[in-house]
Amino acid sequence: MVGVFLRLVGRELTLALRGSIGTLMTVVFFVIAVTLFPLGVGPELGLLSRIAPGAVWVAALLAALLSLDRLFVADHEDGSLEQLMLGTLPLELVVLAKTVAHWLTTGLPLAVAAPVLALLLNMSVDGLVILVVSLLLGTPILSLIGAVGAALTVGLRRGSALIALLVLPLYVPVLIFGVGAVEGAVLDVGVHANLSILAGGLVGAVVLGPLAAAAALRMTVE
C-alpha cells in the first residue's frame, strides 16, 4: 500500500512538473502579489516591515488558492480519477497522496520563496526564520482544506469561483495564527503558542481533511 501511495505521489509530481507551468505560475503569482504591496502603500521601510508578515501570508494564501482547481479537475475530465477511485488504494489515501503532491509543488516553493520577499519588505532575521517555519506548518493545512473544497466542487462547471467562497473562510484561522507567530518573532513576544496551534491544526487536518474530501468525492463523482 505504501508503494502504491508513493507511486501515486510520484505520478502527480511528474504531471505537475512536466505537464504545465502551473507550479511556476503559483510562485510567480506569489512574487507579483507581494510586490504589489509596496506599490500600493508606498516604499517607506518602517511601514513595510510592519505589514510584512500579513502581506506575505495573505499572498501565500491566495497563491495556494489559485492552484486548487486543478487538484482533481484534470483527473476528473480524463476519467483517471474514477480509475483511482476503483483501485486498491483507499480513496482517503488517494486524496492524501494528491494533497501531498499539491503541497510539494505549491506550499513548499512558497515557503522557499517567502524569506527573499520578506527580506525585500524589510523583515528582521528572527521574523524570516519563523516565517518559513510557520509557512511550512501552515501551507499543508491550506492544501488539505483546499482538497476538501476542490472535492466538493469537482463536477461543477463554475467550480473554481465557488472554491474561493467555500475555502477562504476556513483559511482564516490558519492566517491568524501564521501571522501571529511571525509578529510574535518580530516583536520578540514569543512564538510557541501560535506555532503549537498551527502544528495541532496540521495534525487535525491530516486526519480529518482526507476523510472529508474523500466523502465529498464519493458524492460528486458518479
Partner: protein, 254 residues
C-alpha cells in the same frame, strides 16, 4: 434508530418511505405552527416593552446599551442555527434522514440573516461606544467568517442540478465548517480583544442586573420561536417542491 435504518434500507428519494416521515412532520408542524407564531409575537413584544421602557438605562452607556436586546439573541441564534444545520447534515449523511436535509437547507438563509443582524446591530452599537463602525477584532472577524460560511453553504447547495446531490455535498461543507463555531464562541475568552466577554453564563451569576436579564431572555426565547415560525413554512415549501419534482420525474420516465 439503527433498526429503523436497516428496515428502511437505502431508501431513495423516490421511494414511498420518503413520504412517510414528512407526512408525519407536516401533521406535527401544522399543530405547532400557530403556537410558535403566537409565542413569537408575545415574547418579542414583552421583551421589547421590558427592554425599552422598564429596564433602567445603563450608568455608563445610557440608552445605547438597549441594542443588546436584539444583538445578543441574534448572535446566539446565528450560532444555534449553524449547529442545527450541522446536526441535520450529520443525520442526513449517516441515516439518510429525508427531513434533515430539508431542515438544514431551510435553516441556512434564516441563520445567515441572524448573523447579518448581529453584525449590523453590533456595528450600530460600536459607532457611539467604541467610536468606530468596525474593528478587526477576533469575535467580529469570526462572526463575519460565519456569515461567509452560511453564504458558501447556500451557494454550494444551489450549484448542483440534482437537489439530492447538492444536499449531500453541502452537508459535508456544513460539517467541515463546524470548526468555526467554537472559535466564535470562545474568541473573546481566548483573545483579549475589544469585544467584551459573554454577559450571560450558566455557571456564574450574570454580570448585568436582573431587570436587564429578563428582557434579554424573553427576546432570546422570542427569537427562537421566530426561527421555528419561519422554519415550518420553509420546510413545508421544500417538501412540496420536492414532491412536485418527483411527480414530474415520474411523469417523464413513464
Amino acid at each position: 434508530m439503527a433498526t429503523r435504518a436497516t428496515r428502511r434500507g437505502r431508501a431513495g428519494w423516490t421511494s414511498i418511505h420518503f413520504f412517510a416521515n414528512p407526512a408525519r412532520f407536516l401533521r406535527v408542524a401544522r399543530a405547532v405552527y400557530p403556537w410558535a407564531a403566537g409565542a413569537t409575537a408575545g415574547l418579542i413584544v414583552a421583551g421589547l416593552v421590558l427592554g425599552l421602557y422598564v429596564a433602567p438605562p445603563d450608568y455608563q452607556q445610557g440608552d445605547a446599551y438597549r441594542i443588546i436586546f436584539v444583538h445578543v439573541p441574534a448572535a446566539w441564534m446565528s450560532l444555534f442555527v449553524y449547529v442545527v444545520i450541522a446536526l441535520c447534515s450529520a443525520a442526513s449523511l449517516i441515516w439518510r434522514h429525508p427531513l434533515a436535509d430539508l431542515v438544514a437547507k431551510s435553516s441556512a438563509p434564516v441563520g445567515a440573516v441572524f448573523t447579518f443582524i448581529t453584525l449590523l446591530s453590533g456595528s450600530l452599537w460600536g459607532q457611539p461606544m467604541w467610536g468606530t463602525w468596525w474593528v478587526w477584532d477576533a469575535r467580529l472577524t469570526s462572526m463575519l467568517v460565519l456569515f461567509f460560511l452560511y453564504l458558501g453553504y447556500i451557494a454550494l447547495h444551489a450549484a448542483f442540478d440534482d437537489p439530492a446531490k447538492g444536499a449531500r455535498v453541502a452537508a459535508v461543507l456544513a460539517l467541515v465548517g463546524v470548526v468555526n463555531v467554537p472559535i466564535v464562541k470562545f474568541s473573546v475568552d481566548w483573545w483579549n480583544t475589544l469585544h467584551q466577554p459573554a454577559t450571560i453564563s450558566k455557571i456564574d451569576a450574570p454580570s448585568i442586573d436582573s431587570s436587564m436579564v429578563a428582557p434579554l431572555l424573553l427576546m432570546a426565547a422570542g427569537f427562537m420561536a421566530y426561527y421555528l415560525t419561519v422554519l415550518i413554512p420553509r420546510v413545508r415549501a421544500e417538501i412540496a417542491s420536492r414532491r412536485i419534482r418527483n411527480l414530474r420525474l415520474a411523469q417523464v420516465s413513464r
